[in-house]
Symmetry: C2
Subunit: 195 residues, 2 copies
Amino acid sequence: MKVTKQRAAENRAALVRAAGRLFRERGIDGVGVAEIGKAAGLTYGALYAQFPSKDALAAEALAEGLRASHERVTALSGGDPLRLGDVLDFLVSTRHRDEIAAGCPLTASASEIARQDGTVSARFVEGFERSVATIEATLVGVPVAERRARALTIVAGQIGAVAVARAAAKAHPALSDEVIGATRRVLGEMGGEGA
Amino acid sequence: MKVTKQRAAENRAALVRAAGRLFRERGIDGVGVAEIGKAAGLTYGALYAQFPSKDALAAEALAEGLRASHERVTALSGGDPLRLGDVLDFLVSTRHRDEIAAGCPLTASASEIARQDGTVSARFVEGFERSVATIEATLVGVPVAERRARALTIVAGQIGAVAVARAAAKAHPALSDEVIGATRRVLGEMGGEGA
DNA sequence: TGTACATCAGTGAACGCGCGTTCACTGATGTAC
DNA sequence: TGTACATCAGTGAACGCGCGTTCACTGATGTAC
């Protein structure tokens, strides 16, 4: 049956959020459309009234997750300039490791994006560039010419560290914690030194 | 029909190698048993004569891939002590980015391992620790107390950089190259400085 | 304002398909005598 | 050395299952008059 335009928009948003959460937790291949619909309080048919395909929903879910994650990071500064240490405390943490569903899609899906279509890759690139720009702006103690290379390394390092910490969590929790702690500190020091 | 014991062992090895290659390229969920059997020159039935399940094959394929990758890295030194720069030139390169099938399973599968069972996570941890120990041994200019933290960060950073470079390759090849170049250099400098 | 009805978000049965796994069978191997 | 036969790696049809997608249908919404 038809619903109000506002309700339809809310349903669409619920589908995007539910898909994002589930895709981050179990991968795009690991979740079916029936479960996404159910998690959004709808049926799978509703998904096809809003999106042409599961892949199209995946691209939008990635974009929305990146947007939400970026918003959370920028909110860490209380209006003051953002500090690298605060960002790393938030992203390279046991908390972020354990809350995959609510976390940053870059860390949740890095090695899967390469297998998705070009639209998904494009959304990934946008989110990554935004992250790099955010980190670059915190590198006030680093020579300007060096900042971008450092920012690229820090963002890639953060993504790798969280992915490794998650992969090791089941078999070796202590190592997982150690990776988080060491990476957090060493990447943090890259923002303080000179060239 | 029965085959010689040697032939059976060769077939088993072919299944493990084919599965490793395909899993790295397209993910464990992305490849079916029929294709693995075919790639090894057998049928899918042969897979179940050698392994109890696809998951068991996945764990063995990961272990074998890690072993092969580690061997390739240690071969980079010609008997001399291994140098960090040589390892990074090999692992953080456009070549390694583009040859997923033949590359290091840590980079190919990082964000998928967390969703697999404990056996797969255990094989991942073994391979990761071996990589960290190898990198640590190259950090001769770094204070001993600092070496392990640096090595953890370098290995995690390398994994993240290659994963990001692969994810960005479709939508933005220039950015993909830039991530490889910047990470290669910045991580390399972590082996040369003092504390 | 009241009425008629076109719109379209949402439903859910049904589709073809490929998945992982099972199992009865084959037949060369390799051993016991 | 020659023969009989148990072993078991490998085959491929068949299984139940869940997947993504389609589409005829429903019925409240919202608009035209």
